[in-house]
């Protein structure tokens, strides 16, 4: 049943129809996929209620076979993929609906929906794959869609460049994935999840092969999920239309790395060194990106760095063994970051494609729905209770605290940054005086219904999403953890149980909640009470501010260290080694027989037809000679 949905979407991916129909079909197939996903989810849920592990495998056909290698196209549904299905198709559907309004005036309307549908298809393959290769198809396929959609407005050279950058940086990670696949096959003799994980569960903690496998998989994850050192493509990816940023570069695709690690949790649990690296990289990324977000003036850039930062938190969660917590944050982040991007899109739409917050301000009255929903999203991401972000972030931080107090302190600092830059964005956009041009002021309007309804739905989800997994300390039942427990069962059996006194948990929650509120107030005082506006690009800055504003010069560093040397090498190889060295040697030989060449040249001016004729006759004659000689 499910593969049919994917196929259906793929089949409808290209169509040349009137706009209204394109939008309806594009959204309709995703809605159908969502409804089917609901069906799948409910059967998985029912099976879980009945106490089963609820894992279903659906083989389709054998794809690649060579020697002892057998790769089948087959799908796996379990609690983890069932939830991802709901997120991908559910949020996917909302964003399709939103796009009907957002892309209404674009010439490439049909193309846009075709790409979006193709994306959903590949994302479903990624989520549903029952082995690493099918997952890899989806993994690269979403990369392709990301490339197509970032470069959607391809006449802009910078946008096309951003698309290429995204694809290439992802490819670096993909090579890690591919080699991990080979290593897994060499170790376990299969690529099916259902056969690898039971074998792995019987292995020793700290196994060297597992260490290598997990490191390679983590490299893959840093590419797709934009972690240090491969994170710089994601902010550039904001060149794509805003619904794309919301769907692909916030809610779904970029969380694929977390999904993949959560899926392979047992391999990681048995490699404590990798887990430490994951936690460290995640935390560093979270802090670095948050520090950059503080000074950005482009509303989408703020959200992009925020996404990188939140992904960092998810990896921190994975690294400290909070698989459920990390995945919980994937869910809530999909709600509130999807919401924030769509809200930003609504603002940009209203402001005639203005993205610089210095030219906004005071939009609260003209865009009441956008304002209210974005307020919800901001509170949620800042981690102020009782909205969803509070619960998921708190669970990750609590696990970090139990692992190492330092991780918690740094994580907490990052959370303070988050609260600050998010409220800064909110206040700069919606409060104070309008700073745009008169023309923009006349044009400002609330977005159409197709855009506001998805905002409202996501806002509601952002508010109540935390209820999915209320911790025991607050009288909840850890519903999500309970639901997912079979997926993480082996890891749970092999690692120390998480334990924290309720009183400690209350304290941690209290500190982070108060911290977030304090930062909100600080931002309010600075940007509303004092009406501060960020300075112009060329204004002098302090060292730290300059570093942050220029994104710590990471792009420039990569350019100097990798891009330019390789380009230089390219020219060097071509001019000197190839033309001069090897070919020079050959040509030297050639000169000695140059005289022969001159002789040959004279022969070339004849009638070609004659040559061919002679050639054919000669060949046939030679052949005939043989037969008649019998």
């Amino acid at each position: 049943m499910l593969p049919l949905v994917g196929f259906l979407i793929n089949g409808l991916a290209r169509n040349v129809l009137p706009k209204s129909l394109v939008g309806a079909i594009g959204s309709g197939v995703v809605l159908a996929a969502f409804l089917l996903s609901c069906g799948v989810f409910s059967s998985v849920y029912a099976a879980r209620q009945a106490g089963e592990t609820a894992t279903f495998i659906q083989p389709i056909f054998q794809w690649i076979g060579a020697g002892d290698l057998r790769v089948s196209m087959s799908f796996l549904v379990d609690p983890l993929s069932a939830i991802m299905l709901l997120i991908v198709t559910g949020i996917g559907f909302l964003i399709h609906v939103y796009s009907i309004g957002y892309m209404k005036h674009d010439a490439g309307f049909a193309k846009f929906f075709a790409f979006l549908n193709l994306f959903i298809f590949f994302m479903l393959l990624l989520v549903l794959g029952s082995n690493y290769v099918v997952m890899f198809i989806g993994w690269e396929g979403v990369g392709l869609c990301s490339y197509l959609l970032i470069g959607f407005w391809f006449t802009n050279t910078a946008y096309a460049g951003a698309a290429k950058k995204a694809f290439v940086m992802n490819r670096i990670g993909d090579l890690g994935f591919l080699i991990a696949v080979f290593l897994i096959f060499a170790t376990f003799g299969t690529l099916e999840f259902s056969q690898i994980f039971p074998q792995a569960a019987g292995m020793m903690t700290g196994d060297a092969t597992l260490l290598l496998i997990t490191l390679l998989l983590f490299i893959a994850a840093t590419g797709k999920s934009a972690q240090i050192p491969l994170f710089t493509w994601l902010p550039d990816a904001m060149a794509g239309p805003t619904p794309v940023s919301a769907l692909i570069h916030a809610a779904t695709m970029v969380t694929a790395g977390i999904y993949m690690i959560a899926r392979s949790n047992i391999l990681f649990t048995l490699s404590p060194i990798t887990l430490q690296i994951v936690a460290a990289i995640g935390l560093c990324t979270a802090l670095l990106a948050a520090a950059i977000a503080i000074t950005q003036n482009d509303i989408k850039k703020v959200l992009a760095y925020s996404t990188v930062s939140q992904l960092g938190y998810m990896f921190l969660g994975l690294g400290v063994g909070a698989f459920t917590g990390a995945f919980f944050h994937v869910i809530t982040h999909a709600f509130f970051k999807g919401l924030l991007f769509l809200g930003a899109g609504s603002v940009i739409h209203a402001m005639s494609n203005e993205q610089d917050m210095r030219n906004m301000g005071g939009l609260r009255k003209q865009l009441p729905i956008t304002y209210l929903t974005m307020l919800m999203g901001t509170i949620a991401i800042a981690g102020i209770p009782p909205l969803s972000g509070f619960f998921s972030k708190d669970e990750i931080l609590a696990h970090a605290f139990a692992t190492n107090k330092l991780l918690w302190i740094l994580g907490f600092i990052g959370a303070l940054f988050t609260a600050f830059y998010m409220f800064r964005m909110l206040f700069l956009t919606f409060f104070g005086k309008f700073r745009g041009s008169a023309e923009q002021a006349n044009h400002v309007h609330e977005s159409p219904v197709t855009m506001t309804i998805p905002l409202i739905v996501l806002a509601v989800l952002s508010v109540i999403g935390g209820l999915l997994n209320v911790p025991a300390a607050l009288g909840g039942g850890h519903a999500l953890a309970e639901f997912l427990s079979p997926v993480f069962a082996d890891s749970a059996a092999r690692s120390e149980a998480f334990h924290l006194a309720h009183s400690t948990e209350y304290l941690l929650m209290g500190i982070s909640a108060i911290g977030a509120i304090v930062m909100a107030v600080v931002a309010y005082r600075k940007y509303v009470s004092n009406a501060a506006v960020p300075t112009a690009d060329e204004a002098p800055r302090g060292v730290l501010s300059r570093l942050s504003y220029h994104k710590f010069y990471v792009d420039e560093l990569y350019d100097r260290l990798i891009v330019r040397p390789l380009n230089g090498l390219s020219v060097f190889f071509y001019r000197f080694t190839d033309k001069g060295g090897i070919d020079g040697l050959v040509n030297g030989l050639d000169k000695t027989i140059g005289e022969t060449g001159k002789g040959l040249r004279l022969l070339q001016s004849g009638n070609v037809g004659f040559y061919i004729f002679m050639m054919v006759i000669a060949a046939v004659a030679l052949l005939a000679y043989g037969f008649f000689n019998l």
Binding site: F61, Q62, W63, I64, G65, A66, G67, L69, V133, F136, I137, E140, G141, L144, G151, F154, T155, T157, A160, G161, K164, V168, R171, L175, L178, I179, F182, L183, A186, L566, N567, L569, S570, V571, F573, Y574, D578, I582, D583, V586, N587, D590, I593, G597, R601, Q604, V608, G609, Y611, I612, F613, M615, V616, A619, L623, Y625, G626, F627, N629, L630
Partner: protein, 499 residues
């Protein structure tokens, strides 16, 4: 009246053999020499090549995918010298016969946009015969004849319709490959003298069991001949010039089919005949292949001439195929065979797109282009699919090949796979750069009046796109074709080498 009572099934059954398959293009070429009318020549050439394709498909349906040689034909040719006209196909050669006969109609069709005379098409068909002879020969002398027959028409195609500097470049190409051929001929004659029955049979060569020292020089003699043809680093310097200067159809023949003669030679002749030489130098050969992958990819980064860029990318791709062969395990060789087919399809598609662009823009310099996707969306989509196939995106043909090749290379050694795998990243860098420069960005005065593809062009590109995606989604039939033969060959050589 006998003629009228012919049963057509019988005719087809009678035609259904390799000899007819070889003869058909030769006769076609011969007939074309007498056709003066340009349009008639085009149609005749296309019909002949399509009939060849039909015959190949008919062979395919009756082929049993086991390890045996099938449709074998053996006549005495020059008995006094022990030469037999011995043909046959197995799972290793059939994919290449199929590739040849699928690509030749496409290449002929793609040349329709130029005003070539009948002799051009005659040369193409004549070349087809030479290529088929190489892929079906089971006698070393026949193999050598095919090897040389294939060279002559391509020499003329490049010399007559090539770019400005064609005489010098062509001479270099000819001398280069001829040098390799002579080395091979020497080895073949030597081996012939060693056989107990004084013949040139492939199977006799397999059973020689020569001592290690002899096998080493035999290895090099064959290796250099094949390495030049493919080409493998550092025997490649004729290739970028020749590919760039040749007319597009010539480039397609060279890169799409002819270089596969070299790879096929490695699998069919070099390694089985000189397993001890292979044991001694196989690793070195593999390293050369991998160096080629990285080296040529890096050079491709900054090329401005689109054709030269693809020429270097072809060195990189072929390097990976060669490395898969020298890894000599089932995944590696299976990957090499399927990737030969894939590379042929992709590279023909790429060169065709570049030909379309060059004819309309009047230049091959990619820095002068841009924005073509806007006036020519159909071309842009086809180009994108072909580029993705060449980049090795899953669900395109290129992925299947690269996956198996890298897996085979990985089994040989992790680091070889890491360096070979750089093609994944580098390929994306230079091919997406090419795509971006040509298709994306703003339209400029060079590309403003760009007209989207014609119906003939559409037909060729559609065929390529269908093959790229079709093989990518369901490669099983193609893989099944060669699996038994490859397994058998590798197991056989494994035993010989151990003995």
């Amino acid at each position: 009246m006998v003629f009228l009572t012919f049963n057509y099934g019988e005719i087809i059954a009678y035609m259904d053999n390799l000899f007819i398959l070889l003869l058909l293009p030769v006769l076609g070429a011969l007939a074309l020499v007498f056709v003066q009318h340009e349009k008639a020549a085009k149609q005749l050439a296309l019909i002949v090549s399509l009939v060849s394709l039909g015959l190949t498909v008919s062979l395919l349906t009756r082929f049993v995918p086991d390890a045996s040689m099938q449709f074998v034909q053996r006549f005495d040719w020059i008995p006094s010298l022990g030469i037999h006209f011995h043909l046959g196909v197995d799972g290793i050669s059939l994919p290449l016969v199929l590739l040849t006969n699928v690509l030749v109609p496409l290449i002929i069709l793609s040349a329709f946009s130029h005003s070539y005379k009948s002799n051009f098409y005659a040369l193409v068909l004549f070349m087809q015969a030479g290529l088929l002879l190489v892929f079906t020969a089971l006698d070393a002398f026949v193999f050598y004849v095919g090897w040389e027959i294939a060279l002559i028409p391509i020499y003329f195609i490049c010399a007559l319709w090539g770019g400005e500097d064609r005489i010098r470049i062509n001479l270099k190409f000819f001398i280069y490959t001829f040098f390799g051929s002579l080395l091979m001929l020497t080895a073949i004659i030597y081996l012939h003298l060693q056989t107990p029955a004084n013949d040139y049979e492939l199977t006799s060569f397999y059973q020689l069991g020569l001592e290690s020292g002899v096998q080493r020089w035999v290895f090099w003699a064959f290796f250099i001949a094949f390495a030049i043809k493919m080409p493998i680093f550092p025997f490649h310097t004729w290739q970028p010039d020749t590919y760039t200067n040749a007319p597009t159809a010539g480039t397609m023949l060279l890169s799409g089919i002819m270089l596969k003669m070299g790879v096929y030679g490695l699998i069919r002749w070099l390694i089985p005949i000189a397993p001890l030489g292979f044991a001694a130098y196989g690793q070195l050969a593999l390293v050369l292949c991998i160096i080629g992958v990285v080296y040529a990819s890096i050079i491709a980064f900054k090329q401005r001439d689109a054709k030269r860029l693809i020429a270097y990318s072809s060195i990189a791709h072929v390097g990976l195929i060669g490395a898969g062969v020298f890894a000599w395990n089932i995944q590696g060789v299976q990957g090499a065979i399927i990737q030969m087919v894939n590379h042929g399809i992709s590279v023909v598609g790429l060169f065709f797109v570049l030909d379309i662009v060059e004819r309309r823009v009047g230049s091959r310099d990619i820095t002068l282009m841009g924005g073509i996707a806007k006036p020519a969306p159909a071309l842009a989509i086809a180009f994108l699919v072909i580029v993705m196939g060449a980049v090795g995106l899953p669900l395109t043909n290129g992925f299947i090949g690269e996956f198996l090749l890298l897996m085979g290379i990985y089994e040989y050694g992790l680091w070889y796979a890491v360096f070979g795998g750089l093609t994944l990243i580098f390929g994306a860098v230079y091919l997406l750069r090419l795509y971006q420069k040509v298709m994306l960005g703003e339209v400029n005065e060079q590309t403003a009046g760009f007209v989207d593809i014609t119906r003939t062009e559409w037909l060729v590109l559609a065929a390529v796109v269908v093959l790229v995606v079709g093989i990518g989604v369901y490669p099983k039939p193609l893989l099944n074709l060669s699996e038994a033969a490859v397994t058998n060959l590798i197991n056989g050589i494994g035993q010989t080498a151990n003995r």
